[in-house]
Amino acid sequence: MSDIVRPFWVMVEKEIADHVRSWRFIILVALILLTTTGSIYTVLAVIQQHPAQLSAHSHFLYLKLFTKSTNNLPPFITLIGFLGPLVGIALGFDAVNSERDNGTLSRIISQPIPRDYFINSKFIGGLTVIVSLVFALGFLVLGLGIIYIGLPPAFSEFVRVLVFLIFTCVYIAFWLNLGITFSILFRQSSTSALSALAIWLFFTVFYSMLVRFIISAFYYRRIVAQPVSQMLSRVSPNYLFHELTTILLNPSIRSLGGLSFRQMSGAIPSTLPLGQSMLLVWPDITALIAATLICFGISYVLFMRQEIRAN
């Protein structure tokens, strides 16, 4: 019995192998590596030469590697927030329909395995690839930092980076699931790729414009408009991710909304501990995880109900 691999893990293994060997994955990884290395390198150069430029008091230097930028290159978190969804979509958009087209779906499903192994292995396989990629990237950045700066990161910094990486995975997994859902909905992989990309483009570029437009059309008083605009923005997974990571990697931010003078009076200008920062973005965390799970749930139900036959 010992050398029999459970069929489910055989399928996951196959998924991972297929992803890692595919050209589209290799190209995306190369793109991410290029852009993030550029971004990190410029930050590191500044840290080495003019540390004062980044911050007067050099608390949380390692977190700045992820959040600060110079020379027009966007910071690490922005790059990941931008390219991460592309990775997710690339891994998911043809998960089911390409297998259907190739005639492998009915063959695999007719093996003695439960039907949901198929969709679950798609998700777990994609997730494994994403987790490996994100953590490898994050640790590479930390390692580069250690080489350049020569100081180890503080424990609290390390934990913050870990939490940030975990939620980056959740965020990318959301787009993976969206891609998988579309790959079940649409029989043609080009249609599902374009639809997923359209949604991604809508949320990254147009959604914030739309929110601004709505707010300016309906609200005159800024004090009322601010919470409404925030609520509307939080529909977008991109905004959630942005808010979440900004708070997590900037311990000095104390509130998502505005603080009144009364609230501020007597406050000590210090940084928040991780627990407090997480409390601040707890709704974002829940919403992001929920969106990911809901998306997977939809794809699961769709797949289980769909007829196997190709036509």
């Binding site: 069929p7 190739n102 005639g103 009915s106 007719s110 039907r115 196997i308 190709a310």
Partner: protein, 315 residues
């Protein structure tokens, strides 16, 4: 084994208002090669998918070796190999890798799987190609790999959906012989669906004719012909030289011949099959030379046409 290995009881499958399978009953015995015949859209694939638990019936049951296909699909799929009509493999892996993958999904350890995959590749004649990526395969090679893929789980039942589609005529014969030999050697029950008559006729022990989700007839090809045309007249053609009036008259005096028509060098007659000796005797007695005496054999073509031309009309 006693009792049928596959048993279908009043199976109904509806897609919306469209009835794909309509109260179908069918039994297939162990070791039998059963051909499911019908035009496209007759419900062949639907029956097969239901049998494997991949599609849920609207009503009725399918039992395979005592297991209900709908409630225990995994047990059924353990000993049933399925070759879909549009079978494909992941193109960036070799044929061997694809087979090993299927074997491992069936719980066979990697080493053992690799050994039997090599053997099967030899068997289906893909010894060389087994180490090439499957995207370079021709349709015929893909089908043969598909057969190996079905066999690697050592099935008791093989379900082949349109197995000959896209193969050239020579390849079809080889492929069907392979299926027949395997079935007889290893005592594997085969259910194969097709819309091509001649092939099925050649290797099937029994066929069922499916039109619009209904099984119109079943039995072996000979029985079916007898059932349909047994009491009808056969057309008999005799090539005779010289054809004289005496001869024609002598022939028409035979009571068994109901119709006679001279057509150039040949005489067309209608009557029952048993009159052939009478005809040849008459011809010889009239000092004519008999070059050919043939009667029309009713094969699947005629059976098929009989049913399809009449649509669903009763026999």
């Amino acid at each position: 084994m006693d009792g049928p290995i596959i048993q279908i009881n009043s199976l109904v499958k509806r897609y919306g208002k469209n009835t794909a399978v309509d109260h179908l009953d069918l039994e297939i015995g162990k070791g039998e090669i059963f051909g499911l015949l019908g035009p496209n859209g007759a419900g062949k694939t639907t029956i097969i998918l239901t049998m494997l638990g991949l599609s849920e019936p609207t009503s009725g049951t399918v039992t395979v070796k005592g297991h209900n296909s709908t409630s225990e699909p995994i047990k059924v799929k353990k000993f049933t190999g399925y070759l879909p009509d549009d079978v494909g493999f992941s193109g960036n892996s070799t044929g061997l890798e694809n087979l090993v993958y299927t074997a491992m999904l069936n719980g066979i350890p990697r080493q053992e799987a690799t050994d039997s995959a090599e053997e099967l590749l030899d068997l289906v004649g893909l010894h060389e190609a087994g180490h090439k990526k499957t995207k370079t395969y021709s349709k015929g090679m893909t089908q043969r790999l598909g057969l190996a893929d079905v066999l690697i789980k050592e099935p008791e039942i093989m379900v082949l959906d349109e197995p000959t589609i896209g193969i050239d005529p020579k390849g079809i014969n080889e492929f069907l012989d392979l299926i027949r030999n395997l079935s007889k050697e290893k005592d594997i029950t085969v259910l194969l669906s097709s819309h091509l008559l001649h092939q099925v006729q050649k290797i099937c022990d029994r066929v069922g004719i499916l039109v619009k989700g209904k099984l119109l007839a079943e039995g072996n090809v000979g029985d079916l012909a007898k059932e349909l045309f047994g009491d009808k007249e056969t057309s008999i053609t005799a090539e005779v030289s010289p054809i004289t009036d005496n001869l024609v008259q002598a022939l028409s005096r035979q009571e068994a011949i109901t119709e006679i028509r001279q057509n150039g060098e040949v005489i067309n007659m209608k009557g029952s099959r048993e009159i052939a000796p009478v005809i040849s005797q008459t011809i010889v007695q009239n000092n004519a030379k008999l070059y050919r005496l043939s009667y029309k054999e009713y094969g699947l073509d005629e059976i098929y046409q009989h049913y399809f031309e009449g649509g669903t009309s009763d026999v």
